[in-house]
């Protein structure tokens, strides 16, 4: 993909993000933040894309750490968000 296409996607994503997220109420800002924690765990993909062709112990070690970090974000982020959102209940 060329740079301009990527920038186009980036800018459009920024506008969609601003539009969607500005509708999230204060009440849910903490779960929003932990959900976005989980979403930036998508850096995991970077580790996956590079590790197959990486050579040498150091590069592989660094990528395993990066994959572990990304997984912590994804697994921990979605789980803790779910735990929080479960607590937001209507009046019975």
């Amino acid at each position: 993909m060329d740079l301009v296409t990527e920038l186009t996607i980036l800018v459009l994503a920024a506008f969609v993000g601003f539009e969607v997220i500005s509708k999230v109420p204060n009440t849910l800002h903490t779960p929003l933040m932990s959900a976005t924690n989980a979403i930036h765990g998508i850096v995991l993909l970077g580790g996956l894309l590079l590790i197959g062709e990486a050579t040498g112990f150091l590069d592989e070690l660094l990528l395993v750490i990066a994959i572990a970090f990304g997984t912590i974000n994804i697994v921990g982020g979605f789980l803790v968000t779910d735990r929080m959102l479960e607590m937001f209940r209507k009046r019975d």
């Binding site: 009440t27 903490t30 959900a35 930036h40 970077g46 990528l63 990066a66 921990g76 019975d92």
Partner: protein, 458 residues
């Protein structure tokens, strides 16, 4: 084989990425209401699973056992952490998660650069620039988040730590990082320069969070959240991965919005907060002068509350510190039994991160309909009989120089307070000396329990 070729078809994988980022957007969209939020989170998680599986289908992705080790370690750390973290410790957890994400980005960009050098030199500029950006911002985010975690966890003193000439040091560090990045982009092929970038950005991350005080943490955490998202989006550009670009940018947008909202709620510019030194610096010595504050007792407060029509509880971080959420909810239940209308007025910066107080009250089974935002509750306060302020100070202080919950407009104000000390802002609170304000001194939890007992006895 036909099926195999279809599964590893790049266009098929790219379509899965589109499905994945659509799930993120829909998921975030559903976070706009407590009723749908849980489903939204699950949809985003499904999107993530699709993105990961799709990535594993590229034919050049290999070393599956190394991948398995990484994912196993991450899962083994992530699940117990998410299960056991206390809701009061959510800001620390989010800080740590921000940091981990930033760290992953920095590591990935470093490896990508090293691999490129091994394969004949600097990558093309359209790859190289995002790599350098990701390295700088990811490293700042990793180290800054660790310091924020340390402060919130009270491993590092929460008060601002400042060196002489701090601003010049920070600018110098940024110049070193950017200067090395420019040198690499201009054609220098040198791994050492890249390491200098990572290190100076790391130092900068440390230096920029150290001078920031406890009360400013909601802004810092939001900002670091935005940094991590932006660095992930940059990593996505370097790797030509649409899911990574969109996912990262959504987080960048979210973090930016929250940073802005938090700064607005404190009526301070983001730059002003970054300069630091605010939280904990005493401006006025809380000198009461000839003003006198009226103190009250639990029995009188119980009478006021029980015979009111409408009560607004205004909690601050002091409520969470005293772990009084459950007792407050019991008091509210008791009052509602008597026909009193109870709601909670939540300031955007109540707590240590955006929305923190809402989660703490939700945990104490307060229904979300009762959790009201500042702008919704302020017009209702003149029709409120009693405003009960618990462990809040700056967020109700008319002199704090920021938008506040205007409790002074309620018929009566009862402030539960540990002592006459000033809040984070270090500004004496004139609210306490109003004619319609009464103060109930003591530990928030014990005071609320005493009031509750009195209400039950009425």
């Amino acid at each position: 084989m036909y099926t195999a070729s279809f599964l590893t078809d790049p266009d098929f994988i790219r379509i899965l990425y589109i499905v994945a980022f659509s799930c993120f957007i829909v998921g975030l969209r559903l976070l706009n209401h407590p009723r749908t939020a849980r489903k939204g989170n699950m949809i985003a998680a499904v999107g993530m699973a699709i993105a990961v599986i799709a990535t594993l289908m590229w034919d050049f992705v290999g070393d599956y056992w190394l991948i398995a080790i990484g994912i196993a370690i991450g899962t083994a750390v992530g699940i117990p952490a998410a299960r056991s973290v206390k809701m009061t410790a959510m800001p620390q957890m989010v800080a740590l998660f921000n940091g981990v994400g930033g760290g992953a980005v920095a590591l990935i960009s470093f490896v990508e650069y090293r691999e490129a050098l091994d394969h004949g030199g600097n990558p093309a500029l359209e790859q190289l620039i995002p790599i350098l950006f990701a390295a700088i911002v990811g490293s700042i985010s990793f180290w800054g988040s660790n310091i924020a975690f340390g402060k919130l966890q009270e491993i590092i003193p929460g008060r601002p730590i400042q060196l002489p000439g701090q601003q010049f040091i920070n600018i110098g560090l940024l110049l070193v990082a950017v200067g090395c990045a420019v040198a690499i982009a201009a054609g220098t092929e040198e791994q050492l320069l890249f390491i200098v970038i990572l290190l100076s950005a790391a130092l900068l991350g440390n230096m920029f969070v150290l001078p920031i005080g406890g009360a400013d943490m909601p802004v810092v955490i939001s900002l670091l959240n935005a940094f991590t998202g932006l660095s992930a989006a940059a990593a996505g550009m370097a790797l030509d991965n649409v899911a990574l670009i969109v996912g990262g940018m959504l987080v960048g947008a979210s973090g930016s919005i929250l940073t802005r909202l938090m700064a607005d709620a404190m009526n301070r510019s983001i730059a002003n907060i970054m300069v630091g030194g605010f939280g904990g610096v005493t401006i006025a010595a809380g000198d009461a002068g000839d003003k006198t504050a009226r103190s009250t007792d639990a029995a009188s407060v119980a009478m006021q509350l029980a015979y009111a029509r409408k009560v607004v509880v205004t909690p601050g971080y002091g409520l969470a510190v005293a772990q009084a959420q459950h007792t407050v909810r019991e008091l509210a239940d008791e009052l509602e039994k008597r026909g009193v209308e109870v709601s909670y007025a939540i300031h955007p910066v109540a707590g240590r991160m955006p929305g923190h107080m809402n989660v703490l009250l939700a945990e104490a089974d307060v229904p979300y309909e009762q959790l009201k935002e500042m702008d919704d509750v302020n017009p209702e306060l003149p029709q409120t009989d009693v405003a009960l302020v618990i462990g809040a100070n700056d967020t109700v202080n008319p002199e704090a120089g920021m938008p506040i919950i205007e409790v002074g407009k309620a018929g009566q104000v009862v402030v539960l307070k540990r002592s006459m000390n000033t809040g984070f802002a270090g500004i004496d609170n004139p609210l306490f000396y109003n004619e319609n304000t009464a103060l109930l001194f003591g530990d928030a939890k014990e005071s609320v329990a005493a009031v509750l007992a009195e209400v039950k006895d009425l």
